[in-house]
Symmetry: C2
Subunit: 338 residues, 2 copies
Amino acid sequence: MEKNQKVVLSSRPEGELKAVNFQLLDCDIPSLSDGQFLIKNHYLSLDAGFRQWMNEGASDNYLAAMPLNEAVQSIVLGEVVESRHADYAVGAFVVGRTAWERYSVADGSDLMTCIELGSGVSAEHHLSVLGPSGMTAYFGLTDIGRAKRGDTVLVSAAAGGVGSLVGQMAKILGCRTIGISSSGEKCQWLKSELRYDDVINYKSEPGLAQSIQELAPNGVDVYFDNVGGEMLDTVLPHLALKARVILCGAISQYDASGKHAGVHNLWELITKRARAEGFMFSDYVDDYEEASAVIGQWIAEGKLNAPVSITDGIATTAAAFCDMLAGKNLGKSIVRLF
Amino acid sequence: MEKNQKVVLSSRPEGELKAVNFQLLDCDIPSLSDGQFLIKNHYLSLDAGFRQWMNEGASDNYLAAMPLNEAVQSIVLGEVVESRHADYAVGAFVVGRTAWERYSVADGSDLMTCIELGSGVSAEHHLSVLGPSGMTAYFGLTDIGRAKRGDTVLVSAAAGGVGSLVGQMAKILGCRTIGISSSGEKCQWLKSELRYDDVINYKSEPGLAQSIQELAPNGVDVYFDNVGGEMLDTVLPHLALKARVILCGAISQYDASGKHAGVHNLWELITKRARAEGFMFSDYVDDYEEASAVIGQWIAEGKLNAPVSITDGIATTAAAFCDMLAGKNLGKSIVRLF
């Protein structure tokens, strides 16, 4: 049997995360105990949120800080190739949280779910629109954001793995969508591929605040926040009455080795009677099936694209993850291993 | 007929608001136009929130910045003594938003409601537990905070006009209550008069964070935030899963002439799947009657005290307002004029 390979966090990032903070190592494929199974990982899902737990002392109630010199935690999609677990037969395909490695040992915990491929649904779909990113977009918008027909929905990191789906789903729900991104090229793509009604390149004139003011003079009903920090602060004064801020991620803040940047405009939540609420896709695991049916229908009807940025081979993982944090991807970032 | 008197904002506060920022002026009682009525103000309600709108340029969607040299906006309780409005007969008692003055002209807007005195319900009750402060406490806890039996409810400015009611109401709802205040004396009072289960003097050892950790090791389910700023930031890491932060006021921040202090720990709302939501008591005007029945019953059963700090005469208003902002009051601050 072939050897395993893994990408470990070999040093803590000082500020911006770089590929040199990681190392690709050869290692053995472990043998299984009762209740375990071996996954051959076909794909690694690159999710910005994991960046937070790469910092020293970043342990919280959701995850522990990632230990140095161990494979980096990640959502993966793979095939069970050996099993001593009754519920996971050889040949089954699964999505779950293991690590950046070619083969993972799992025991059915860590969000492990079996998936079905085929019939218009690809492996990429299961890591994007039908996977954690899709569930994040769907439940964030519908349950946390209560997005409804006629709402103005503003999305930050709109070209990212989650944002690229949020805009499309909001549009399907009858909302007006405004996407924020960091380049003219990405903004073009948001309009042409993801049908955003309006786009804002926050790095160009007239700047984010003025652009929101012009595009949403009556205020933003739903802000899907993937960025946090200064961008969140800038958006708050532009909320509409009874607005909902979906706190999904804080990609602007993960490189801050100490505390996150201060948000000064929370008073706006009082006078606007508005709400900011955090969530995790994993809270909705019991509702995945229902959501998957809805999303699958949207895909089948051609209403929903699932854009992906794919690189090939485990050796590309660290650089692809850093590129994603720097906003170089269009849609969901995925590494293909086999 | 006697003359009118009013307290005007005569200069913008630079940092801390002081009594010298106000002036007491004699003036005429205006004559009425059709649709207006004259209120003889028996009581002025002192509410910390109004401090925000005394700052230069503090206009927002809720209120405009208070103009200089005009009577300071305020909730009042008074008697209609002259009327050219069909709905407000001479002799009726009303609560509404007019200003720091002995006589006010009103037209039925600005939250004006008729009230009934007598049968165990005093004028003070109508400015505290049955007035804006009581409605703020009640709807904040029940509708925004969804406080329920067994919840741990943390209250800042717990000895203030709203906080003194929140703790008692939460206790009636079956919650465990922890009150934060700024002195040992006030903390004693919170326990003896308001039945808080636990109290924290945030100015004494071991400090706020450590005290919350010790008193609520499993986290805070509901944080009723009257203070904002650094205190809010300190509380966020101690939230329980699915916690609710009721954004009611930001008394620590009103003296900041520029932007409010930054809150750094919003990431906690994500990993805790928690919610921060602002509100205004005035949104619930259609539900006042229902709430008043519930609260009135609590008063009648002796379950709910309505503590007030009263000063006499319009000349005491400015100093009493500043004292309240400095936390020198116990319960609702009221000025009695007649």
